[in-house]
């Protein structure tokens, strides 16, 4: 075995996770695992993890994400229903986090030893329009706006909030965008980084507290585990990956039924580091929901910072078994329709911070005794 291969075998596997219904939370716990590194884009990944059952309407998106993972690549399916995904996979796993990490590592090792086993492309290697050599300047057509350079037409202009007529970038984001909850698809119109309009095309998937494979909810409090999984993703989106790994490890420890004193001690350290990181200060004034808004439930009111503080306190309380699960309950599915007015006019990163702070994918889970 060459030195290079030995080095590669020891690396954490760069994995992009495409999470379907019920698996998003379990995927977050992989952030705490030393054997894999969850990357935010398929471009950085060597392995694609298809977790949980992906809805039929999202299968074309899954194929595109598969093709956007650069060669050499491999894919692993996790959980029942994941095999309907119409993506060639190296392995299917029906187990917990350790089993899926083992499968990913095995697939990655095999890929390092023989890169020719890379999965084949599913989409045609073709630009959407013929453009090379077409038109007087090779822009794919005639006139200023007539061409399709790089196979795509130019953006059309529209009025922006400052009374200027500027180009509108129309994009459909999701359902496997790292920063958004699983299965949430948004149609957005951007001018610069300002969201001019937002439409919810598909709501986010419901989150189960089980792992896709083993179907166990774990020994500890499911509310605390849910909250910590949310916290792990939220910290990752805000660029605090070391803290995200810590939250993921705590979530896994809750699932394994770790000692309460250990858990609340770990949470105290995490809470202190979050405070010191300054992330809460950046969330001040972001995504403000007032009490008159239809979203203005007790645990949603205020800005993103208020929501984070409430949720972290609720995780803390739940770990100490003091009850108070209300703030961890998430939003009902109907909340999606109130999302566009909240996001319109915001910059893209403020919109993402708002969506993350709302915890939209808690659409099904309810703690006992809460309507």
């Amino acid at each position: 075995m060459t030195r290079r291969r030995r080095l590669l075998h020891g690396l954490p596997v760069p994995v992009f996770a495409a999470a379907g219904a019920g698996a998003w939370g379990a995927v977050q716990e992989l952030r705490g695992h030393p054997g894999v590194r969850l990357v935010p884009t398929p471009r950085w990944a060597a392995a694609l993890l298809i977790a949980g059952a992906v809805d039929a309407e999202h299968l074309p998106a899954l194929r595109r994400v598969h093709d956007q993972t650069p060669h050499p690549r491999t894919a692993v399916a996790w959980g029942a229903g994941a095999d309907a995904a119409a993506v060639p996979v190296a392995a299917r796993v029906d187990g917990g986090t350790d089993e899926v990490v083992r499968a990913l590592r095995d697939a990655f090792t095999a890929l390092v030893d023989d890169p020719s086993i890379t999965t084949a492309d599913l989409l045609p290697d073709r630009d959407p329009n013929e453009w090379r050599g077409v038109g007087p300047f090779g822009q794919g057509g005639e006139g200023m706006m007539g061409g399709t350079p790089y196979g795509r037409p130019m953006a059309m202009t529209g009025d922006d909030r400052d009374g200027l007529a500027l180009d509108q970038l129309r994009l459909t984001v999701g359902p496997f965008l790292d920063a958004l909850p699983a299965a949430l698809v948004l149609d957005v119109v951007l001018q610069g980084d300002v969201l001019q309009s937002v439409d919810v095309v598909a709501p986010s998937a419901a989150v189960d507290d089980t792992s896709p494979g083993d179907g166990r909810t774990g020994a500890g409090s499911p509310a605390a585990r849910r909250g910590l999984r949310w916290l792990s993703h939220a910290l990752h989106v805000h660029g605090l990956d070391a803290l995200a790994a810590r939250a993921a490890i705590l979530a896994a420890a809750v699932g394994a039924g770790a000692d309460q004193a250990v858990l609340s001690g770990g949470m105290r350290v995490l809470h202190r580091r979050i405070r010191r990181s300054g992330v809460l200060a950046t969330l001040r004034g972001v995504g403000h929901v007032d009490s008159a808004s239809p979203l203005g439930d007790d645990h949603v009111r205020g800005d993103a910072r208020d929501r984070w503080v409430r949720r972290i306190a609720a995780i803390d309380d739940t770990l100490r078994e003091r009850g108070q699960h209300r703030a961890l309950a998430g939003l009902p599915r109907a909340a999606h329709q109130h999302l566009p007015p909240l996001l319109r006019g915001a910059t893209w990163n403020a919109a993402v911070a708002t969506i993350v702070s709302l915890d939209l994918d808690a659409t099904r889970w309810r703690p006992a005794g809460v309507a």
Partner: protein, 118 residues
Amino acid sequence: MLNAFLAGATVTAAAILATVAATLLARRWSPYQSTAPQRVPVLGGFEPETHAWSRFHVRYYPMTLLFIAFEMEMMFMYPWAVVFVEEGMTALVEMGMFLGILSVGVVYAWRERAFEWQ
């Protein structure tokens, strides 16, 4: 004098050569070329309909204009102050012309309401 330029030109040529060589070698040795789906931005499963050559509002533009109008002015006034006594009237007229041209930018910024804090 010429030697100084020669050194700079040598380094520039070496840099260009290294870049071109690295690009060509990477293209030759890499077993995989990126495919059409890999050449577009990752949106989580969809492709952009238009491409990203779009014009948008540079919101820091008035601030940049003011920076050039005021800071650059000060930058030139320090060396000017050193030679002012020596040069006398000539320096005063030259600086007057320079400030006159710069003040057009300030007037423009004023008209664009760059001085109004929102």
